[in-house]
């Protein structure tokens, strides 16, 4: 573990007496290795270890009795500081309905998370409506309808021959008539480098003006997390992140990367395939997981 490796380093260093800049860098190297192994983006790791170094030097820990533990604590605190957010709630509209748009790469868990959020909001006393705008993936609309049936939440769809922006328009009208106060828009998986599909998203966003755009990210994602998140944020602007499949054993360094590059908070985590498997994001738990 990182703690054991740091202890090994500090044992050697203590025997040699005073600590040099190079010795400090040895410890930072171990932290870097641990974070890269956890899939934190290498550029984010560089910035992060710099912050840790400053914090560590400022604390004069290098001569303490338990330097390894102290370093780990500093690293964890920095991780929590970076990933933590005061506001983990979905931005609600001033006047209903609140519109939430789910976006992200293929297979990241958007459709399932749409169902989970619908269930979450209904538990809080809202009247959600889910909207099926994935007109590309075979049986995508059916998938959302099946989820809707499971939790008795309506799904608005206009089939797969109508443009997503028009489906959204129809959904707004439907929500008005049926007094739905939260509209959850499931969108098709897309590459951030697919101009046409990113334009489609821009068009939808301009039309329905959501108060919340959630980027759904698979927690197993590697270095590409930064390129992808930056691109989605620059193209359409995101408000928050949903990190999925955390019931697996991926270290989830993407949590740090995506937060670092977009500045947006992780609001929810997916912890299973059931629609009840949605939790609020806990930065301290995520920090421990990333450090392994």
């Amino acid at each position: 573990s990182l703690q054991e490796r740091l202890q090994g380093i500090f044992q050697k260093l203590k025997r040699r007496g005073k600590l040099s800049e190079e010795d400090v860098n040895l410890a930072l190297r171990e932290i870097r290795i641990a974070l890269i192994a956890a899939d934190v983006n290498i550029k984010v790791v560089k910035q992060f270890t710099k912050k840790v170094k400053e914090a560590a030097i400022g604390e004069e820990i290098w001569h303490s009795l338990t330097p390894a533990q102290q370093v780990i604590k500093i690293v964890k605190d920095e991780l929590v500081d970076l990933m933590g957010s005061v506001n983990q709630k979905v931005n609600m509209a001033e006047t209903p309905p609140t519109i939430v748009m789910m976006v992200g790469l293929h297979g990241s868990g958007k459709t399932t998370s749409t169902g989970k959020l619908a269930m979450h909001f209904r538990t809080q006393g809202h009247h959600p409506l889910m909207v099926a705008t994935d007109i590309y993936r075979p049986a995508a609309i059916k998938q959302l309808e099946v989820l809707g049936k499971q939790i008795d939440i309506p799904v608005f769809q206009l089939g797969d021959k109508t443009a997503p922006v028009n489906i959204c328009r129809g959904a707004l009208k439907y929500a008005q008539d049926n007094l739905n106060d939260i509209i959850l828009i499931d969108t098709a998986g897309r590459l951030h480098i697919d101009e046409e599909l990113m334009d489609e998203l821009k068009e939808m966003k301009a039309e329905i003006r959501p108060s919340e755009v959630l980027l759904v990210v698979d927690s197993m994602i590697g270095q590409d997390a930064v390129t992808m998140a930056k691109s989605f944020n620059e193209s359409i602007g995101i408000d928050g992140i949903v990190l999925t499949k955390l019931d697996g054993d991926a270290r989830g360094g993407a949590a740090l990367s995506v937060r670092a590059v977009t500045g947006k908070p992780i609001k929810f985590v997916g912890v299973g395939e059931k629609l009840s498997a949605l939790e609020l994001f806990h930065p301290d738990r995520m920090a421990s997981r990333i450090l392994g």
């Binding site: 899939d39 049986a139 951030h192 994602i221 270095q223 992808m228 054993d249 991926a250």
Partner: protein
């Protein structure tokens, strides 16, 4: 090409950055750099472009396996079991493979053994209708092993050339779900002793180091014979596959490069490496 025209410390730093960014992972990156430093000394390499060719040669040796082609049963049924974690592209890859075999004149049957996920069977049915292929399915919620049993028996009876089995996505860390796969494999073996002829693990190229854990866990549970690496049409490079192929001694058989039925290519190590270092 690269901005560097000399092999110096900056060059090695840049190479490390390229490899790590491609998800090659720390251990494999260190290994590659050590090997290349030796190569520079042994062969007096001076040009970065020359070193890149040497590196690609070396990595091609690791990635090219003699059994990179699909193992087809020339006189009887070939059973292909497709597995992997959630959302990697199993169902889509199966449609692509089915299309390929049909175009080769083979009789293909597909088993819808994902009886769990919402509209999983319907998703496969859209494909089988489009390709005009027979699908063996039960109701949602039924036992996947029962679907597999019916599919193997039907494929043998109907003298199909290829049976491709779609399974539900499952996290490798879930023991009961991995046990379910072992049960499916037993059902296949009981009714077709030489099967499954191929057990393909579908990996998402956007995954990081966890892909190696996935591969090792699946291999331990049900013995993987090949890998399909999907979503290489994105910006992720799938570099973790180098460690996977090396450590598991399993070949990559296909890559997925899009959502369309033709977006499947046989794995070519050199093309893959050219793209990785592009």
């Amino acid at each position: 090409f690269r901005l560097r025209d000399v092999i110096d410390d900056d060059f090695w730093d840049e190479l490390e950055e390229i490899l790590l960014t491609a998800d090659v992972g720390m251990d494999t990156t260190e290994y590659i750099i050590e090997e290349m430093k030796e190569a520079v000394d042994e062969h007096y390499i001076e040009q970065p472009s020359h070193l890149y060719e040497v590196m690609k040669d070396k990595l091609s040796e690791i990635m090219e396996k003699e059994n990179s082609d699909m193992i087809m049963n020339e006189d009887g049924l070939t059973i292909i079991l497709v597995v992997g974690v959630n959302g990697t592209g199993k169902t889509t890859s199966i449609a692509k493979m089915a299309n390929r075999y049909m175009q080769e004149g083979k009789k293909v049957i597909i088993a819808a053994a994902d009886t769990f996920r919402a509209a999983a069977i319907e998703q496969l049915e859209v494909w089988t209708r489009k390709l005009d292929i027979e699908i063996i399915k039960h109701k949602e919620g039924s036992d996947p092993s029962a679907v597999v049993y019916d599919a193997v028996v039907a494929s043998l009876a109907r003298r199909a050339d290829v049976l491709i089995i779609d399974t539900a996505g499952r996290l490798h860390s879930k023991v009961n779900l991995m046990n379910e796969l072992q049960k499916i494999r037993k059902v296949i073996k009981r009714n077709c002793p030489e099967g499954p002829h191929e057990t393909l693990l579908v990996l998402d190229a956007t995954n990081g180091q966890n892909a190696l854990v996935q591969a090792k866990t699946f291999q331990k549970a049900i013995d993987i014979t090949g890998i399909v690496l999907t979503k290489l049409d994105g910006t992720a490079r799938g570099g973790i596959i180098i460690a996977i192929v090396h450590d598991l001694n399993v070949p990559v058989k296909f890559i997925g490069v899009g959502e369309g039925v033709y977006d499947l290519r046989p794995f070519d190590a050199r093309n893959f490496l050219d793209a990785l270092f592009a």
